[in-house]
C-alpha cells in the first residue's frame, strides 16, 4: 500500500540526487517511520470503535469504480487508456473463481510467501545487527554508510542480471533481490532508533552495574524497538515490490512469475488477478507485521 509506493518513489528518485539531498532523504525516511508508527496507533483505534459509516463510503467508492471500469471495458472505450485490452471486472471475477478451485494458483502464492519469509527473516537479522553496529560505532558507520548510499538507490529490477550471475540457483537470486529490498529500510530505521537512545538511561543502567551487553539488551534495543518495528513494516512492503521484480527470472512458480507469464501467454485476466493478489498479500503482510509488533510496544500506552 502507501508505504511501498513512497519507498518505491524514493528508490526511483534518489539515484539522480546530489549527495547533500541524500540526508534530506534520510529525514524523509525518518518521518516515514513516524508515519508508520502513527498508523499502528491509528489502526488500533479504528479497531476499537468500528466506524461503519466510513467503511460504507469506502466500499461504495470501490463498487462505483468497478461499475465504471465494467462499462468502459465492456464497450471497448479507447480514450488515452485502451480499454479493449483491459479485461472487465466481471470477466476477471469469473476467471478468478476458476483459478481459486485450481491448486496452481495457491502454489504460486505459497512459493512467493516462502520467498518473502526467507528474505524478510534474513533482512531482519542482518538489518538489525548492522543497524545497531552502525548506530553505536562511528567507525562502523563511516565504513558502511558509503555502501548503503551507493547500493540503496539501485532498483530491484536492475539487480536481476548480476543476481543471476552471482548466485548458483535462480531461487537464491530471487531471494537475494527480495532481501535487498527489505534490508535497507530495516537498517536505516534501526540506525535511527539507536541514534535516539536516551543517554541518561544508559547512565542509569551503568550506575546500576549493567555491562555493555546488558545495556545493549535492556536499554538500546528496547529504545530502538518502535523505530525498528516501523522499519520492518516498511521493509515488508518493499520486499513484496522487489519480489515481483525478482520473479521475472523465475522459471516456474511465484505470483510475480504468474503475472509475467500471463502477459506472455496473452492471459490478460490473469494479469489483473496477479496484480491484485500481490497488492493484497503486500497489504496483509504489512498489517500482520504491525499487528504482531503491537504487544511489544504496550509500554508506550499511557492508560491501559
Amino acid at each position: 500500500m502507501g508505504e511501498e509506493e513512497v519507498a518505491m518513489d524514493k528508490q526511483e528518485t534518489v539515484k539522480t540526487m546530489p549527495a547533500e539531498e541524500v540526508t534530506a532523504m534520510e529525514a524523509r525516511q525518518k518521518s516515514l517511520a513516524d508515519l508508520c508508527s502513527m498508523r499502528c496507533a491509528l489502526a488500533l483505534q479504528s479497531l476499537r470503535k468500528w466506524p461503519w459509516d466510513v467503511y460504507a463510503i469506502r466500499l461504495g467508492a470501490v463498487i462505483a469504480a468497478l461499475v465504471v471500469w465494467q462499462l468502459l471495458s465492456a464497450n471497448g472505450v479507447k480514450f488515452i487508456i485502451d480499454f479493449r485490452n483491459v479485461p472487465a471486472p466481471l470477466d476477471v471475477g469469473a476467471q478468478l473463481s476458476g483459478l481459486l478451485s485450481s491448486s496452481d494458483y495457491y502454489k504460486h502464492i505459497t512459493v512467493s510467501i516462502q520467498r518473502i519469509l526467507i528474505a524478510f527473516s534474513l533482512a531482519t537479522i542482518f538489518g538489525v545487527i548492522v543497524g545497531v553496529l552502525m548506530g553505536r560505532s562511528r567507525l562502523v558507520r563511516n565504513i558502511i554508510m558509503p555502501y548503503i548510499e551507493i547500493v540503496r538507490p539501485i532498483p530491484a529490477v536492475a539487480w536481476i542480471p548480476m543476481a543471476i550471475l552471482m548466485f548458483p540457483t535462480e531461487e537464491s537470486s530471487i531471494i537475494f533481490i527480495t532481501y535487498l529490498g527489505a534490508f535497507f529500510p530495516i537498517v536505516l530505521n534501526t540506525i535511527h532508533g539507536v541514534d535516539q537512545t536516551d543517554e541518561s538511561l544508559v547512565r542509569a543502567a551503568r550506575s546500576l552495574g549493567a555491562s555493555n551487553r546488558a545495556i545493549l539488551w535492556h536499554v538500546i534495543l528496547p529504545g530502538a524497538l518502535p523505530s525498528i518495528l516501523a522499519g520492518l513494516a516498511i521493509g515488508m512492503g518493499v520486499a513484496w515490490f522487489s519480489l515481483l521484480a525478482g520473479e521475472i527470472i523465475s522459471g516456474q512458480y511465484g505470483i510475480g512469475y504468474f503475472t509475467w507469464r500471463s502477459y506472455a501467454l496473452v492471459e490478460y485476466r490473469n494479469i489483473i488477478i496477479g496484480m491484485l493478489t500481490i497488492g493484497l498479500l503486500g497489504t496483509l503482510s504489512t498489517w500482520l507485521v504491525m499487528r504482531l509488533s503491537r504487544p511489544a510496544l504496550r509500554w508506550q500506552e499511557v492508560s491501559h
Binding site: D198, S200, L201, R203, A204, A205, R206, S207, L208, G209, A210, S211, A214, H218, V219, P222, G223, L225, R298, W299, Q300, E301, V302, S303, H304
Partner: protein
C-alpha cells in the same frame, strides 16, 4: 507516605548497610550511622573542551551517613561535580574516593537519582527496581522480592506491574529512589531529583526522603538550587558559585531531627536561612572580586 519498615535485606553479602539491631538503636538519632560511604573529594578540577572550567579546585569530605546538599545557581557545575563522584566524569585534576578507594567509573556502591527520573519506560515499575539486583547477579526471584520490599517502602507496592508512563511525576521519582537503593549502595547521589515536581509533591517527597535516609543510614549528596530545600534536608549545605565552579561555603545546619514540614516557618529555620543567604552573598562577592583580580 513512605512506610518505614525493617524488611529491607541486602542483596549480596558485600553491601552491609542494614544492621537491624543498630537500626533499632539509632532510629531517631542521626549522625550515628554504619561506617560506610566516606567520601573524599580531593582538590578536583574539571575542564571541558580545553578552556571551559566547570569545577575548580573542589575539596570536600563527607562523613558516612551524612546528608549534604550542594546548592548553587544553574550552570555552576553542580552536576559536573556530582558526576565526578558518580564516575561519569573524569576530573582533569584531583581525585574522588569512596572509603579511601579511588573512583574509576560508575559503580553499584553509588546509587543515582536523576531529575528526569530516567526510568526504563519499557520495564514495569517492579522490573525497573529489580534491574540493579539482577545486574548484581541476584536470581529473578531474589531481585523481585527486593524490588517489592523497596516499592513497599516508598508506598508504591500496588503499582508494581504498571509501566512508568502511567505514573505521576512524584511516583516516578519514588520509583527512581527505590531503584537507586535496590543495590543497597553506600552513597546516594541525587541531582535535582524534585526539581520538576510541583511544590506540594516536592514537600512530600522531601519528607519521605528523610525517612528513607534514616532507614538506610546512607550517605547522601543532594544537588539543588532551592535554598529552602537544602536547609530542610541537609546536615551541611555546601554552596557553589558559578564560573568557575567553586565551593564557596560549607554551612552546618543545626536544626534538630526529625524535622516536621512546618519547620520552614520556624524562627530557627528562618534564622538559619538568613545566615546562609548572608554567607552566600559575602562569599559570592568575595569570589567575584577574586576573579576580577586575576
Amino acid at each position: 507516605m513512605f512506610q518505614v519498615t525493617n524488611q529491607a535485606r541486602k542483596p549480596t553479602t558485600t553491601a552491609p548497610v542494614l544492621e537491624t539491631a543498630e537500626m533499632a538503636t539509632t532510629k531517631g538519632h542521626r549522625h550515628v550511622h554504619v561506617d560506610k560511604g566516606h567520601i573524599h573529594i580531593d582538590n578536583i578540577s574539571v575542564v571541558f573542551g580545553g578552556n571551559a572550567i566547570a569545577v575548580e579546585d573542589a575539596t570536600l569530605e563527607i562523613k558516612p551517613g551524612e546528608f549534604v546538599c550542594l546548592l548553587g545557581p544553574s550552570g555552576c557545575g553542580k552536576s559536573t561535580l556530582m558526576n565526578c563522584v558518580a564516575g561519569f566524569v573524569k576530573p582533569s585534576q584531583g581525585e574522588v574516593s569512596i572509603d579511601r578507594v579511588a573512583v574509576k567509573g560508575p559503580g553499584q556502591d553509588r546509587g543515582m537519582v536523576f531529575q528526569q527520573h530516567s526510568l526504563f519506560p519499557w520495564k514495569t515499575v517492579e522490573h525497573n527496581v529489580a534491574f540493579g539486583p539482577r545486574m548484581a547477579g541476584c536470581s529473578r526471584e531474589e531481585a523481585s522480592s527486593i524490588a517489592r520490599t523497596l516499592l513497599g517502602m516508598v508506598g508504591l507496592g500496588p503499582y508494581a506491574k504498571r509501566y512508568p508512563a502511567t505514573l505521576s511525576g512524584g511516583m516516578k521519582q519514588r520509583v527512581g529512589i527505590a531503584r537507586a537503593l535496590a543495590n543497597y549502595p553506600k552513597v546516594l547521589l541525587m541531582d535535582e531529583p524534585f526539581g520538576a515536581l510541583d511544590a506540594q509533591t516536592r514537600h512530600m517527597m522531601q519528607e519521605s526522603l528523610l525517612d528513607i535516609w534514616d532507614e538506610f543510614g546512607i550517605t547522601v549528596i543532594f544537588v539543588t538550587h532551592d535554598i529552602d530545600e537544602a536547609i530542610f534536608l541537609a546536615d551541611r549545605v555546601v554552596v557553589m558559585s558559578a564560573s568557575p565552579g567553586r565551593l564557596i561555603a560549607d554551612i552546618r545546619v543545626e536544626l534538630a531531627r526529625p524535622r516536621p514540614p512546618e519547620i520552614i516557618a520556624d524562627e530557627r529555620f528562618v534564622e538559619t536561612k538568613r545566615r546562609c543567604m548572608e554567607l552566600i552573598r559575602q562569599e559570592s562577592l568575595r569570589a567575584f572580586e577574586l576573579k576580577g583580580e586575576v
